[in-house]
């Protein structure tokens, strides 16, 4: 067994190296802006760039909107499936997994063709409605994670008894959903929310093809034109991901983090 343990340690050390070296490399690179000395100059330039603040603010607002709409779409659906239409569960589960099967670039290609300015629903006709379309795109991307999180949360509580108890006290559907069900699955909703935030904040493909000023396209643009600032942005972006996953761990009460797919 001794030898087996040594092999295990060696594997872990290899893993640690594989994952820490690129991070260290990026950090070291981000400090190199001034010749000959390590400095935080790249960070200062990045943080002083008005587009940095603007794109982060845009993506954050979009992420918050995505989470709100995602929760409003997913919680009632999962609740209703559990309570009234369990026979539809396989269909709904299949649909929520589709965004993992159909690549994001294919989905946005379809949106651009269907919702162009000469169509029945001209989402891409103006900037505001394009923002709306981008938000719906992100709800789609986040759907598998959000639905899974909420559905797991709902299965852990007795939806039926809670609903009947609330009804016998005279509650209407909105009171049941907002006042009874939602508070009971808030941990699940929060974990879905942080994951959604991590996906949306740096998303590139959809924002770029819909031509909106989000953080992902900004990152790419800086990367194509600068040398050291992209490294600083990578570190900042890694810190954001880390913070989201950290919050997920805290609110998910120690359950392992889920896996996103916005690559």
């Amino acid at each position: 067994m001794k030898r087996g343990r040594l092999v295990s340690w060696l594997l872990i050390v290899f893993g640690v190296l594989y994952f820490s070296v690129p991070l260290l490399g990026t950090f070291e690179f981000s400090l190199r802006l001034l010749r000959g000395v390590y400095s935080l100059a790249a960070y200062r330039i990045v943080l002083a760039d008005p587009r940095f603040g603007a794109t982060v603010a845009y993506s954050t607002a979009l992420a918050v909107a995505t989470i709100v709409v995602g929760v409003l779409l997913v919680v009632p659906t999962a609740y209703w499936i559990q309570l009234r239409l369990p026979w539809l569960r396989p269909v709904v589960e299949f649909i929520t997994l589709l965004p993992l099967v159909i690549p994001a670039i294919v989905l946005v290609f379809g949106y651009l063709r269907i919702y162009n300015s000469s169509s029945v629903l001209p989402f891409t006709g103006s900037e505001r409605t394009t923002d709306l379309l981008l938000m719906f795109s992100y709800v789609t991307l986040a759907l598998p994670y959000m639905y899974r999180a909420v559905d797991t949360g709902l299965r852990a509580i007795d939806v039926r008894t809670l609903t009947e108890a609330a009804q016998s006290l005279g509650a209407g559907w909105s009171t049941i959903l907002l006042g009874v069900i939602l508070p009971n699955v808030r941990v699940a909703v929060l974990s879905g929310a942080f994951l959604t935030f991590a996906i949306v904040i740096g998303e590139f493909t959809m924002a770029s093809l819909l031509d909106r000023p989000a953080f992902g396209p900004y990152l790419q643009n800086i990367g194509a034109n600068r040398a050291y600032e992209p490294a600083a942005l990578s570190i900042i972006s890694f810190a954001i991901t880390w913070a989201c996953m950290g919050l997920l761990q805290v609110f998910g009460r120690g359950t392992p983090a889920q896996v996103a797919g916005a690559h």
């Binding site: 989905l107 063709r113 990367g223 983090a257």
Partner: protein, 310 residues
């Protein structure tokens, strides 16, 4: 809560417990149930943002510019530049999936069943959650800063070992460069997916087989691998689909110097570089087919493995 990719339906035991028919409430109007109204928003959303857009591309792939049925676009996919873009995509996705699966499995097994302290496991799981989400444009920057011509690892190898990987023929903007970069999110994804399956390999099985005289090799050959191969192969397929649809990492890393199929499609959406919109639809159709098949195989394999891993 387990990683989504492993168990699209966690808590399967609850599945069979059909909820008894609802008590008569206001939802029953003259003998007709109106319960379906509650899920209309979801289905409208699914139609608008998943089913109709995808169907539009699939149908468009079989149409000419006048809207008549044709197989011409599918034939046009066989032109050398497009075939080579599919091939390089498949090669990068397969290499990063297989590499990520092997390394990820070894890491997960070492941390869970390798006799290491428990904090190793929890640290690995937490970190995998973060690293599998660290992808896209920032990941490309990280690898440029590390393995680029002036990157940290490149410089270290030159200064310490006098070995220049670029003189040895390595190039980050190539098949191998992209594969190594993709493995950064593939390995942690594999760790997350495989951890529950490895947990399912009971310590007692190992001891029982040892009592019956099996050595380590025989344990793996006759017990562990027959149980673990379906989830391993299934996860590899999932990693494949995951890499196949990726755009941002490759785009930020190589610009358009490595023509993987997602980058060709990206350019096609931006400016019809193929000079045939319907050929673009066919390109998307091919991608859906490839990711769809590998996901279907994953679901089938997962069904096989659930019998033992409870």
């Amino acid at each position: 809560m387990r990683p989504l990719a492993v168990q699209p339906s966690p808590g399967l035991p609850g599945e069979g417990l059909a909820i008894p028919p609802p008590p008569a409430t206001s939802l029953w109007v003259s003998g007709v149930s109106w319960a379906w109204v509650g899920i209309v928003p979801f289905f409208v959303f699914a139609l608008m943002f998943l089913i109709v857009p995808t169907s539009f591309l699939v149908v468009g792939g079989f149409q000419d510019s006048q809207g008549h049925f044709t197989l011409r676009n599918l034939q046009d996919l066989l032109q050398p530049t497009i075939v080579s873009s599919y091939l390089i995509s498949i090669k990068v996705s397969a290499a990063s999936a297989i590499g990520g699966a092997l390394v990820g499995f070894a890491l997960a097994y070492a941390a869970i069943a390798g006799g290491l302290p428990t904090w190793v496991r929890s640290t690995l799981m937490t970190f995998s959650g973060v690293a599998s989400n660290f992808a896209g444009v920032p990941l490309a920057f990280a690898f440029l800063a590390t393995l680029g011509r002036t990157g940290l690892a490149t410089a270290l190898l030159v200064n310490v070992f006098g070995f220049n990987i670029y003189n040895a023929g390595f190039n980050l903007l190539s098949f191998w460069g992209l594969t190594i970069t993709y493995m950064y999110f593939q390995i942690p994804l594999m760790v997350l997916i495989m951890a529950p399956a490895i947990d399912g390999i009971k310590r007692e099985w190992r001891e029982a087989s040892a009592n019956l005289g099996a050595n380590t090799l025989e344990f793996w050959r006759y017990i562990a691998l027959p149980i673990l191969w379906p989830p391993m192969l299934g996860s590899t397929l999932l990693l494949f689909a995951n890499a196949f649809g990726a755009v941002a990492t490759a785009y930020a890393l190589t610009g358009s110097s490595l023509n993987i199929v997602t980058i060709v499609l990206f350019a096609q959406i931006r400016g019809d570089v193929l000079h045939n919109p319907n050929l673009g639809y066919a390109l998307a159709l091919g991608m859906i087919l490839i990711t769809g098949l590998s996901n279907a195989a994953y679901i089938w394999l997962r069904g096989r493995s659930e019998r033992w891993l409870r």
